[in-house]
């Protein structure tokens, strides 16, 4: 029997550069993950969600254009709707940044948070396969014996993680932004809604970078898949538990800093900083109709409240400031010497008091937000540093 049927031929080609080898690692790793049915389903559901978001933006676009099919149909069904749509159209011409930009920012802030969860699920599914499996099966030896260094290997794996999160998170959002603008009544929407895109890139991009480093670290913790998954879930649950601790309020002695052990809480602070939904909602409240109604802020307040933890913060501070004053009024330490001269003066005084309280609340909330933002940055940097340390330790030993 002829033992060697295929003669050996020497290869006389040109070697590819190092970036193409890193890309090969990323591509092959991602392809392996996408072969897992649950990851495939997750990616699919994210894109289905994106389709739903485009539909939502399309409906919004129809509401600010009186010549749109939806407006005409609604006008036939309920003529009063035409008035609202006409008003929105006028506002769009007068304040395009407010009518187009702010609602989009609110909606994209909501979408960005909504897609965080499927992304986390996909990460949980693939976490053991990032590095741990290569260590466990000693496939790492093959990588090290080829023309790639450990840094090339890590860059390739990081690239795969970024690509996966782009598929489940950033990609759908960018496509929604482009799709929503293409379906908008005017090309100027591309310009007026730029803030939504920039905020999305800032929050989602930053989160992807952080989660990439964190995933590399957690996947390096052990060579056993179950241990890696358990560590990941523990980090998540432990953080969630810590979120219930204390407050950022400097007036209240607490262990509020423990909240920053939760990467989800820290990323939520980045989200609030990038999108600032409370501020956006306040801006929309300036748009009042002739009857005093605020149609845009009424419709969009759900999206604002669903994504902003600042609302709770503001409520807490207001309660802390207002409740003692109410008690003072009910049980005054010194009796009032001069009764109010008339109703108008009393109303004016109440208004001034309310303004003073609001100013005090705003100052306290802004101080708390600043503390929270600093804590979140510090927490994220420390966690990323710890994860990088684990990777370094593991590969020093490998």
């Amino acid at each position: 029997m002829a033992l060697i049927e295929q003669p050996y031929r020497h290869w006389k080609g040109v070697h590819q550069g190092i970036w193409s080898r890193r890309l090969v690692i990323a591509q092959t790793t991602l392809t392996g993950w996408l072969a897992v049915p649950w990851i495939k389903r997750t990616v699919f559901s994210c894109w289905m969600g994106a389709l739903g978001m485009v539909v939502l933006l399309f409906i919004f676009s129809q509401f600010v254009d009186s010549k749109s099919a939806l407006a005409e149909w609604m006008g036939q069904e309920n003529p009063s709707m035409l008035l609202i749509i006409g008003m929105l159209e006028t506002w769009l011409k007068q304040y395009p940044e407010l009518v187009a930009g702010v609602p989009w920012s609110l909606l994209f802030g909501f979408f960005a948070l909504a897609l965080f969860w499927p992304t986390m699920f996909a990460l949980t599914m693939c976490m053991p396969q990032v590095i741990s499996r290569d260590l466990g099966t000693r496939a790492i030896v093959i990588y090290q014996a080829k023309a790639v260094s450990k840094w090339d290997y890590l860059l390739g794996k990081a690239g795969a993680l970024v690509a996966l999160m782009t598929l489940t998170w950033l990609g759908p959002l960018v496509v929604v932004w482009v799709g929503g603008n293409l379906l908008a009544p005017s090309w100027t929407f591309f310009w007026h809604t730029r803030e939504a895109l920039l905020s999305t890139l800032l929050y989602v991009g930053g989160s992807i970078l952080f989660l990439t480093v964190l995933s590399l670290g957690i996947s390096s913790v052990s060579i056993k898949a179950k241990a890696v998954t358990a560590t990941w879930i523990c980090v998540w649950l432990l953080g969630w538990g810590m979120e219930g601790f204390g407050s950022e309020d400097p007036q209240i002695p607490s262990v509020g800093w423990l909240r920053h052990l939760s990467f989800r809480y820290n990323l939520a602070q980045v989200h609030s900083h990038a999108f600032d939904p409370a501020k956006n909602l306040h801006r929309l409240r300036d748009l009042k109709g002739p009857d005093g109604r605020q149609p845009l802020s009424d419709v969009l307040q759900f999206f604002s409240r669903a994504q902003d933890e600042g609302h709770q913060m503001e409520r807490d501070v207001r309660n802390r400031i207002v409740i003692p004053r109410l008690k003072d009024k009910q049980h005054p330490e010194t009796p009032r010497s001069d009764p109010e001269p008339d109703e108008e003066a009393a109303s004016q005084k109440r208004q001034q008091e309310e303004q003073a309280i609001q100013a005090e609340v705003n100052a306290a909330v802004s101080q708390m937000r600043a503390r929270s933002w600093s804590g979140a940055r510090l927490g994220l940097i420390l966690m990323a540093g710890l994860a990088a340390g684990i990777v370094h330790f593991r590969f020093r030993k490998a």
């Binding site: 050996y8 092959t28 072969a35 496939a139 093959i142």
Partner: protein, 312 residues
């Protein structure tokens, strides 16, 4: 002398207090190089240090003329390595795995895929290449490891115990393949094994490592010539009378359990043995010069090495 492919100077590697490599200095020209040593002698550590899979503590090493410590990635483009243990990527098909390894070495995708199929043919993996590597038998895994090691056409390939766990037929095939790499295709092969007969068969240079020290580096021919003066004579009948004839001529002899007559003739060649056979008109079926020479050299080197390290 040919430009050395491996050149080390005082390479030392420690694991805690234990020296896995102890001041190893060697210049190895191209060829089929057998790396011999008992288990735990430091063979794998030596290979890993040359490939920079493990950094060495002191000393200098060059591989294919490049500094190992500084140009590891460039060197590994031109070097192949088949590790002793399984190290495949779970879930990958055989052909995908070898293609991926070729791409990691810098081959463009289409070249990598073509080379992968050629190498899988070369190592004798047929339709099994379309199966996941984790489902392979031990023999198939050894073949796919060899395929991934040579898929990028390296100038030197390190094979760490490539015949471990193989049945006789599989071992024979792998040895023939490895032998052809140097003899027909000019690829330097470093063949690490503790199986002397495998090394004896395919290598022309021998390095013996024990307790982290390089005890011997020479050509197989030279090593065998050091142990001249022994032969085994194979005859059909009359082994005992032949032994007595040799003994009477002052050549100590014994009849081995396999029926061969082992004689210490003491000459540089077989002339004394042939002369005696001719005188008595005896016909031998076969005369094996220097049988087990490598084994004797190996045992002697390891024993002396152990004695030296104990004494020191």
């Amino acid at each position: 002398m040919l430009q050395p492919v491996i050149h080390t100077q005082g390479v030392t590697k420690r694991y805690g207090t234990q020296r896995a490599l102890d001041n190893v200095s060697v210049q190895v020209p191209p060829g089929a190089i057998g790396l011999l040593g008992p288990n735990g002698a430091g063979k794998t550590t030596f290979i890993k240090c040359l490939l920079q899979l493990q950094p060495f503590d002191t000393g200098q090493a060059t591989l294919l003329g490049r500094d190992v410590a500084r140009e590891g990635r460039e060197i590994r483009k031109r070097v192949g390595y088949a590790p002793e243990q399984d190290c495949h990527i779970p879930g990958m098909l055989g052909c995908e795995y070898v293609t991926y390894c070729a791409q990691l070495s810098g081959l463009p995708f289409y070249d990598a895929r073509q080379r992968a199929h050629e190498m899988l043919d070369f190592v004798g993996l047929g339709q099994e290449r379309y199966r996941a590597v984790d489902t392979y038998s031990t023999g198939m895994k050894q073949r796919v490891k060899l395929a991934q090691a040579i898929v990028h056409d390296p100038e030197i390939v390190f094979l760490d115990e490539p015949t471990n766990g193989l049945d006789p037929a599989g071992r024979e095939q792998i040895l023939e393949l490895v032998q052809s790499l140097w003899q027909r295709h000019g690829m330097t092969v470093v063949f690490s094994s503790h199986l002397l007969q495998d090394v004896d068969r395919i290598c022309d240079q021998i390095m013996i490592i024990a307790r982290g020290r390089l005890l011997v580096h020479d050509t197989l021919k030279n090593l065998k010539s050091r142990r001249v003066g022994v032969a085994e004579v194979v005859v059909l009948t009359g082994q005992e009378s032949l032994r007595q004839l040799f003994a009477a001529r002052g050549m100590p002899a014994e009849v081995l359990s396999n029926g061969h007559v082992r004689v210490e003739h003491g000459g540089a060649d077989l002339t004394p043995v042939l002369g005696l056979l001719h005188e008595h008109n005896l016909r031998a079926l076969e005369i094996i010069p220097s049988p087990n020479a490598l084994e004797e050299v190996f045992l002697k080197a390891v024993t002396e090495g152990s004695a030296g390290s104990t004494g020191s």
